[in-house]
């Protein structure tokens, strides 16, 4: 297969081109760099049939990913289910709802496996032997697991006061986990300095242009699983805002390469009220994203107070006819429960944010009630199970007595009759 579809990196601000190296900001204006492709070459190479003939992983869209050769890390990642959720749709008050279910993404049960698969494959192409990230959860787990699977050494930097349960999910893979003392902003600045000083593949710093492109595969899959059409409304959780901008980019790329018909698609963003710099700026009608110095939300995977792609996320929502919303902790918990009870999917707190914000967007008419909507659910509920402690009812306990069980069931079922005979 021709491999020269990925041509350059380019500054999103001034448009200057850069070679395909481990660089991430423009030397001129510090704008972020982004992968550029030869869409004409891709158009000639690719077709729906060709994609459908490939294995069901994120790599079936290989031409749209920033590698020179074939992937070597995370080759089984992606192609998670797109679930039609009629009972959820009814509860949300919308005609049709789908859940893009990355709670079952392989191997670490979050969408981060997509971005890590791309960045580590690229790191190997570039000859790096040590990979690193700074993370409080999902990204750390994914880097540790995917690095271990191919024998790359990994460093995971975390704030030193992170809960033990979250650290376990990285330590188990043999990653070198380093806790850093001090407030978040100082830890953040140190990580930037480490990334600059050590010649490591820091997945979301010097490899960010490659890393971020992995998110597009969620959008490609949604369109293919809908029968090669774009959803008219997509609701996406926002931390840095990168996932939202990349799903929009994936839809554009499918249009440009004639894989889908050009139809309107509104991109909506979801944040937690306790850390809502992007949705707040959107609401105010400004492009200037004010940092949130001390995020206060149970949706910790979205608690980025200085979102790197906040400006671009606002532009994307505005241009696509979408909107931004945010949800309180109580609404997030209700969102988790609603998704579980109506679709049988247990999402982490970020999933609760998406469901809660979708509900608000529908209630306010920003997503019309006769519309079809896709909800992007990005991580498994077992990762943030502690958020539900004290929220759910406890199991009812009975003695080992059939009569007692009968009594309990009849109180549940009200007037409904119990079976008269017991099967042998």
């Amino acid at each position: 297969m021709q491999s020269e579809f990925f041509t350059n990196l380019r500054c999103r601000e001034c448009g200057r081109l850069y070679p395909k190296e481990a660089v991430h900001v423009c030397e001129w204006d510090f704008g972020p760099l982004e992968a550029v492709y030869d869409y004409e070459a891709i158009r000639q190479q690719i077709s729906r049939d060709r994609i459908e003939s490939r294995p069901p992983t994120m790599w079936r869209y290989r031409e749209f990913l920033p590698l020179d050769g074939e992937p070597t890390v995370g080759t089984q990642v992606g192609f998670t289910p797109l679930v039609r959720a009629d009972r959820l749709a009814k509860a949300l008050g919308v005609r049709e709802a789908y859940v893009k279910n990355d709670t079952v993404n392989y191997p670490t049960l979050s969408f981060k496996d997509r971005v890590v698969a791309v960045s580590l494959s690229r790191a190997k192409e570039m000859g790096f032997t040590v990979v690193a990230c700074a993370s409080t959860g999902n990204l750390a787990n994914s880097v540790a697991a995917n690095a271990a699977s191919v024998g790359l050494e990994s460093y995971v930097l975390i704030p030193s006061d992170l809960e033990a349960s979250k650290v376990l999910g990285s330590l188990v893979y043999g990653s070198r986990v380093i806790g850093i003392r001090g407030p978040y902003d100082k830890v953040n600045r140190l990580c930037s300095e480490i990334a600059g000083k050590y010649q490591w593949a820091f997945v979301n710093v010097n490899l960010r242009p490659y890393y971020a492109e992995g998110s597009k595969t969620m959008g490609f899959e949604i369109a293919e699983q809908l029968g090669w059409r774009l959803p008219s409304h997509t609701v996406i959780p926002m931390a840095s805002g990168s996932l939202l901008t990349k799903i929009a980019k994936s839809y554009q790329e499918l249009i440009v390469t004639n894989l889908v018909e050009k139809t309107p698609f509104a991109i909506h963003g979801a944040q937690a009220t306790g850390c809502n710099p992007i949705s707040e700026a959107f609401r105010k009608g400004t492009d200037l994203v004010q940092p949130v110095p001390k995020p206060q939300t149970i949706a910790k995977s979205l608690a980025i107070g200085t979102p790197a792609d906040g400006y671009y996320a606002i532009q994307t929502m505005r241009k696509s006819g979408g909107a931004a919303e945010d949800a309180s902790d109580a609404e997030i918990l209700a969102g988790i429960q609603l998704l579980a009870e109506t679709a049988g999917i247990f999402a982490e707190t970020a999933g609760g944010v998406t469901v809660a914000c979708a509900r608000k967007l529908i209630a306010s008419g920003k997503i019309p009630e006769d519309a079809s909507v896709v909800l992007c659910i990005t991580g498994h509920g077992l990762k943030t199970a502690e958020a539900l402690s004290g929220v759910l009812a406890s199991p009812r306990v009975i003695d080992p007595s059939l009569r007692e069980f009968d009594r309990l069931v009849s109180s549940d079922l009200g007037q409904a009759s119990l079976p008269e005979t017991v099967a042998p």
């Binding site: 900001v25 959860g137 600045r189 990580c191 930037s192 979205l302 200085t306 970020a350």
Partner: protein, 82 residues
């Protein structure tokens, strides 16, 4: 002592928009500064700046900026993700 460079985003609110922060910074600390991009309105200022100087001076300058009410972030913004 070795000189080093740091690339930073400075963000500040309405209270500082009329104050010559960068001028004060350059008068108080022995640093070379180079503004790469800036957007300042009546309510918010966002400045991309490169500071060059001795490590200790850089450190003190950043402390002064923060004490003054300026949010100082590395050019990557949030390197720590969920």
């Amino acid at each position: 002592m070795a000189r080093e460079k740091q690339r930073l985003w400075l963000t500040f609110g309405e209270a500082l928009c009329q104050r010559p922060i960068i001028w004060e910074l350059s008068r108080s600390f022995d640093l070379a500064f180079n503004i790469r991009s800036a957007q300042v309105t009546q309510t918010t200022g966002i400045v991309a700046i490169e500071l060059e100087g001795e490590r200790e001076v850089l450190k003190r300058a950043i402390q002064w900026l923060e004490k003054t009410g300026v949010a100082v972030e590395p050019v990557e913004l949030s390197t720590i993700e969920g």
